[in-house]
């Protein structure tokens, strides 16, 4: 068996089944703290949903034929999926890579960096899915969900988790310390949340801002999630999926290249 390994830092990722034990490692840690973890992931979106939903809901009777809180529910599912995946690949992955040196230990075993970074990405999406499901259950209990297409939200949440996990891993790959991640949230995540139709329809924003939003992944997640939660079929499904997948694949490729440069130089 003769295999050749291209030496370029940004060569194609080589993923094998060996990413599974790395994913299981993260899952085992999560399982030990599952309840506080899920409650923690749930608290923030629920406070926004019910706080803003009832508060602003009293001023804004309806948006597009539904109550404000029903409108907001889809936005909260998407933004909390984004936050959950982002936090995992930024703070937790950085801790495993740089502080605890867990990745170094794994690379001494027969597991390559490509599999480790891929496991981190899939784990972040898995964790986003776990917290996304928790939120879906709560909003279903409050009658904010039309059950017709709601199960389609599960693969969508996973995909959104992959997209933002991949983008976050790019930041992690170049981060000198935890403080660095604050820039990512204040300069990227928060502004994007405000222009992507999470809290209010994007159509009322200036055209230039709408264009910017359409280039970012969160608006595409919202465009898919909102109709699905309201029992409708979304439009431009392929476009939205392609954008989300492109951010996932592109982000992962870049993140892996930068991480190789950082750790295997």
């Amino acid at each position: 068996m003769a295999t050749t390994t291209p030496s370029s830092t940004f060569r194609a990722p080589r993923i094998t089944h060996r990413f599974v034990p790395v994913w299981r490692r993260n899952f085992l840690v999560w399982r030990k703290l599952a309840l506080p973890s899920v409650l923690g992931n749930l608290a923030d979106p629920m406070i926004y949903l019910f706080g803003l939903g009832f508060g602003i809901g009293m001023l804004v009777p309806e948006i597009g034929g539904v109550s404000y809180i029903s409108f907001l529910a889809a936005g909260m599912v998407c933004s909390s999926t984004m936050n959950s995946a982002s936090f995992e690949v930024l703070y937790s992955s950085f801790s495993r890579m740089h502080v605890q040196r867990t990745w170094d230990a794994i690379m001494n075993a027969p597991v390559d960096l490509d599999d480790i970074v891929f496991a981190e990405l899939v784990w972040a999406a898995s964790k986003a899915l776990l917290s996304g499901v928790a939120i879906l259950i709560v909003i279903a209990v409050f009658g904010l969900v039309d059950s017709r297409y709601v199960l389609w939200l599960l693969p969508l949440i996973f995909l959104v988790g992959l997209s933002f996990g991949a983008l976050g891993l790019v930041m992690t790959s170049v981060a000198p310390s935890y403080d660095f991640f604050m820039y990512y949230f204040t300069l990227f995540i928060t502004p994007m949340t405000l222009i992507s139709g999470v809290f209010f329809p994007a159509e009322q924003l200036p055209a230039a801002v709408q264009v910017a939003a359409s280039l970012l992944p969160l608006s595409h997640a919202v465009e898919l999630a909102r109709p699905l939660l309201l029992g409708k079929v979304p439009s431009d499904v392929v476009l939205h999926l392609v954008v989300l997948a492109a951010y996932g694949v592109g982000g992962f490729w870049v993140a892996l290249g930068l991480t190789r440069r950082r750790l295997l130089g």
Partner: protein, 323 residues
């Protein structure tokens, strides 16, 4: 604990030819050749920054060499490094046990990285914990372990796949004497049972105790290689006399008594001498005439001892600090 019959391991566990590694203009490894024999303990000895850790990283396929050839467990590295690491255990310089897990969970999770199933690993855990002297710590969190216990658990973790070759990067740095001795005992036990051991250290006593063969490394090159006795015999005189203190109460301005004495008399007795700070080191094959002379001097203090690896090391790599 587990024996690999020596005759069976035909290929060298690790063979390195002409290894070079450059970072920009800085050549950290500048042409290293070494070949481990199955079942031996080989020690890489060198000051900080000599290239020891970089050599190990190249050998494991964790960084790409700028030149040279590496065969680990008979397989070319880095091309088939992942496969080769199936047969290797690694104890890294920096502890990287999983702080979220207990001792037993650390071993379980690590075994999975080798593709071992849970039943196989679970069956090995009691024997690994016993080897590390941690039977009572099975369900203890990593934070509750002492530095020595963490090292031992790291050693046990490196054995989870029953490796043919064990690589240890400064395994006893930062440990107290009791903990160091326990690690050495365990390594001797492994070597006796046929595991090949490659270790780096800057402790001479560690190298002298454990190594069948050693290489002294500095500035990315191997300066000398052989068994500890061979290296000492080839590189240095048999005896060392260290002279220090005041000489006849007449230390000159800005010069120590030892230096003044050495300049006046050392040449007459020693083949080679060296003054470092307050001490003159005299290297000689027969120390008796010098000892008789020193007994006549007033104020000088002196110490006679056989030459050791540290003398060779300092002769070859110099006395300058490496930070």
């Amino acid at each position: 604990m587990h024996a690999v019959p020596r005759g069976l391991a035909l290929a060298s566990p690790l063979e390195i030819r002409g290894l070079r590694k450059r970072y920009g203009d800085n050549e950290v490894v500048a042409g290293i050749d070494l070949r481990l024999n199955a079942g031996e303990c080989f020690t890489l000895l060198g000051p900080n920054g000599a290239g020891k850790t970089t050599t190990l990283r190249c050998a494991l396929g964790l960084t790409r060499p700028s030149g040279g050839e590496i065969f680990l467990a008979g397989l070319p590295v880095p091309e088939r490094a992942r496969e080769a690491r199936m047969r290797v255990g690694v104890v890294p310089q920096q502890d990287n046990l999983d702080p979220d897990f207990t001792c037993a969970e650390n071993l379980l999770v690590y075994g999975r990285y080798f593709g071992l199933d849970d039943a196989t690993i679970t069956a090995r855990i009691p024997e690994l914990l016993a080897f590390a002297g941690l039977e009572s710590k099975r369900d203890a969190r990593i934070q509750s372990l002492s530095g020595g216990m963490k090292r031992r658990l790291t050693l046990a973790r490196a054995l989870v796949n029953r490796p043919d070759l064990l690589i240890l990067d400064e395994p006893t740095t930062g440990l107290d004497p009791q903990a160091r001795h326990l690690i050495w005992e365990r390594l001797k036990q492994l070597i006796r049972n046929g595991t090949t051991v490659l270790l780096t250290t800057h402790f001479m006593d560690e190298a002298e105790r454990l190594a069948d063969r050693l290489a002294i490394l500095d500035a990315g090159r191997i300066l000398t290689e052989g068994s500890p006795r061979e290296v000492i015999a080839a590189q240095i005189e048999a005896q060392v006399v260290e002279v220090y203190g005041d000489w006849n109460g007449a230390a000159r301005n800005g010069t120590s008594g030892a230096q003044a004495w050495a300049e006046a008399h050392a040449c007459a007795f020693a083949r080679r001498y060296e003054v470092s700070g307050e001490t003159a080191f005299c290297y000689l094959d027969d120390a008796a005439p010098l000892m008789a002379h020193l007994a006549q001097q007033s104020g000088l203090r002196y110490l006679r001892r056989p030459a050791n690896l540290e003398d060779v090391f300092l002769k070859l790599t110099g006395r300058d600090l490496r930070d």
